[in-house]
Amino acid sequence: MSGVLRWAVWGFASTLVLTGLLTGSQRLRLTRLNLPFLLGTLVTPDRDRAKAYGLGLHLLGGMLFSGLYVAAFTAWGRASWWLGGLVGVLHAGFVLLVVLPVLPAVHPRMASESQDPTEVRQLEPPGVLGLHYGVRTPLAALVAHVVFGVLLGALYRL
């Protein structure tokens, strides 16, 4: 397989697992974090459609992020499960500390922490580490992203 094909196949597979883990942790009531839903509501207010569109956007995002993993593996000249896991920790930290807190500023349907009382927006902001969505949110996100990295590191061969 060519490098691009390997990235596409294993990146997609890892993204599927990541999506499954995040959805599973939400279904198990560990967290209210639902990344596909948050992404989907960027484009539609309809809850059911948002999940479908969001799933597509999340898979696309997963592919892009897996490209960064592959780039890191290439730069290091090696890929392994533990290197993938390490990048997964960074990836989770980036999502929890940067992406989620910034989301209210760019999301058209999400309330911001500084929202004025006369404004009404319906999606509550996730807060730092996504803690507004439940105290187990950081853990669920960390586990899912580390598993994503471990899988990609283990399956992708330079």
């Binding site: 009531r29 059911d48 439940g134």
Partner: protein, 617 residues
């Protein structure tokens, strides 16, 4: 020591937090950045330790105050022998796309001398963390007076000179002549360089913008009946108690204001009670605030997601369970009412009535929007299944007593409502694609109906009763008609109403919650009087009786139209946490019921005396 009364306060806020301002110009309560954060000022709970921020004339003054019409901007007018001083208090509302950055939180106080010459006294005594932290205020020169605590920077900017006081805090005195103004801006920030809003005319621009924003919001109110002022004030109070980023409505802005003076029933109400759901949703929808109602119901669905099918009694503004309750022994408490508590251990109680209230609220959303997402439908089914398994269990009931579980009638009524609404949604075809155990829902609903008709009815008393097979009444039974279980005009409902009035009535239509409250010397419960108005309007009495009862309830608001949780049966003063969303929701619901029942073209008459009204006076 300055005496304070709950009744003497008004509230200002910004949809994140709220401040109580007393008639004598003191900010006696403020929690930043959120309703349930530790306080910066808690003078209402302890004038010496809690801290306050006072702006008032140095001389004795006659005080009148009002909210600027249709706003949450408070104006207090001090009339002294030498002149008139007007203080405008607000938490500014900002334009969505302002050219200037906004501070995270701001409390703005603008003073103007309208007549003569008046000396303004300033005393600023912040006491972070409920008065537990030392307030080390530093002079930042033109950048204001700075206080840092727990990562937060509180900055006071003023255009009158202030100086450190001997016992801590700041004091100042400035003589203002007619036309002269003074401005004070207190801001808080924790995540970026502080934004220091300019004073002077820029302060008045913020006042104007805030007035306009509130008026625009109030203009959306669809109620056009004769009690519009009271209804809009209640809507504005409800909006102040709504946490903007999530849509949650907190029960009250305060903790530990006592239900009995000197008593121990001092609870923290700065959380969102699931119990209030259907009442709040109906009130918001009824006034035309659909977006707010939808935000609230969406919050309910999100908040209960992590614990369902079990639901907590209440959640914090982000839908987190808050089970920890802590006492603050260093605070003396309002009028010596100890302990002062933060957090509320009632979180872990079982209140079966919550299920009916949430499902009723969601059903209202479904009736209006015509559809629910599949997730939401599945969640409703899970809640319904839980009801079919748990409806017979004893629980703490709607009033969350801490004296053990009983088989409350209202909890069963609410379970009946839950199943009735689920079956209604099923009849409307809402459950397409989602499997619901409709037969089980129907069976349990019938069993509940049978049980309520037999074991919740006491033929000797000729009344529905508080617990199954019991012989006490409870004001929550007034809601049997509101939920559609009984016709308000039925003989059963009329005689239940008579019995409630006889046993729980105080004077002028005030009602205790239940017979425990009568014995324990609690206050009359604000919302119960409004429930009675609703029942009368629905047909248990005449329209005139209902309207008269409504007007009597209106008389118990304080001078700026606000209600606490309870009303003292002796003095008519406010008791309990303040302002209380549930009471204001009750007022709105009663006004809406009255409008629905208003006979076409019937003139408004003077309130007639109602026989039996003084039964317990």
């Amino acid at each position: 020591m300055r005496p304070v009364r709950i009744h003497d306060h008004a509230v200002i806020g910004d949809g994140h937090s709220a401040a109580l301002v007393s008639r004598d110009g003191a900010v006696d309560w403020l929690c930043w950045p959120r309703f349930d954060s530790p306080s910066l000022f808690a003078g209402i709970l302890d004038p010496e330790v809690g801290g306050a921020w006072c702006l008032r004339p140095a001389e004795p003054a006659r005080v009148t105050r009002e909210y600027l019409p249709d706003t949450n901007v408070l104006q207090t007018r001090f009339e002294t022998d030498g002149g008139v001083l007007v203080v405008t208090d607000l938490m500014p509302v900002h334009e969505a796309h302002s050219r200037w950055p906004r501070p995270e939180r701001e409390l703005l106080r603008c003073v103007v001398c309208e007549r003569g010459e008046v000396a303004l006294d300033v005393r600023y005594e912040p006491r972070p963390d409920y008065g537990r932290a030392r307030a080390d205020i530093r002079d930042g020169g033109r950048l204001g007076w700075r206080l840092e605590h727990a990562g937060w920077l509180y900055t006071l900017r003023a255009d009158v000179p202030l100086r450190p006081a001997a016992g801590g805090g700041l004091v100042g005195r400035e003589s203002l002549r007619v036309g002269q103004r003074a401005h004070f801006s207190l801001t808080a920030t924790d995540d970026a360089p502080a934004v220091l809003p300019p004073l002077g005319r820029f302060s008045w621009e913020r006042v104007e913008r805030t007035v306009e924003a509130w008026r625009r919001w109030a203009a959306r109110c669809r109620y056009t009946g004769p009690y519009r002022e009271a209804v809009v004030r209640s809507a504005l109070a409800l909006k102040l108690l709504t946490f903007g980023p999530s849509g949650a409505v907190v029960a009250a802005a305060t903790t530990s204001l006592p239900e009995t003076l000197g008593g121990k029933d001092n609870w923290d109400y700065r959380f969102c009670w699931v119990r209030d759901a259907s009442f709040t949703a109906r009130a918001l929808y009824g006034l035309g605030y659909e977006a707010e109602a939808e935000a609230f119901v969406s919050w309910l669905l999100r908040a209960t997601w992590l614990t369902q099918p079990r639901m907590g009694v209440f959640y914090d503004v982000y839908g987190r369970l808050r089970e920890r309750e802590e006492e603050l022994p260093h605070l003396r408490g309002y009028a010596g009412s100890r302990p002062v508590r933060v957090g509320n251990a009632a979180a872990t109680q079982l209140q079966l009535d919550s299920y009916g209230e949430v499902i009723d609220a969601v059903a209202q959303l479904a009736r209006r929007s015509g559809r629910l997402a599949r997730d939401e439908l599945r969640m409703l089914v899970r809640l319904g299944e839980y009801v079919t398994k748990s409806w017979d269990a004893p629980d703490e009931g709607i009033w969350e007593t801490r004296s053990g579980r009983r088989r409350h009638t209202f909890s069963r009524l609410s379970c009946w409502v839950a199943l009735e609404r689920l079956l209604e949604l099923h009849r409307r075809g809402m459950f397409r694609g989602v499997k619901a155990p409709v037969e089980r829902f129907r069976d349990v609903r019938e069993r509940l109906w049978e049980e309520l008709r037999t074991r919740a009815w006491n033929p000797r008393l000729e009344s529905y009763v508080r617990v199954l097979d019991g012989d006490e009444v409870d004001a929550d039974l007034l809601l049997m008609a509101w939920y559609g279980f009984e016709d308000a005009r039925s003989e059963r409902m009329r005689s239940t109403h008579r019995r409630i009035l006889e046993r729980l009535g105080v004077r002028d239509g005030l009602l205790f919650r239940n017979e425990d409250d009568v014995h324990e010397g609690e206050g009359a419960f604000g919302v119960c009087g409004f429930w009675r108005v609703g029942l009368l309007a629905k047909g248990a009495g005449s329209f005139m009786e209902a309207e008269a009862a409504f007007r009597r309830q209106l008389a118990y608001a304080n001078d700026v139209g606000l209600y606490a949780e309870e009303i003292s049966p002796d003095t008519g003063e406010a008791r309990g946490n303040f302002p209380q969303a549930f009471t204001h929701v009750g007022l709105i619901s009663a006004a809406l019921e009255l409008e629905e029942a208003r006979p076409w073209r019937e003139p408004l008459l003077e309130a007639p005396e109602i026989p039996g009204e003084e039964a317990r006076a």
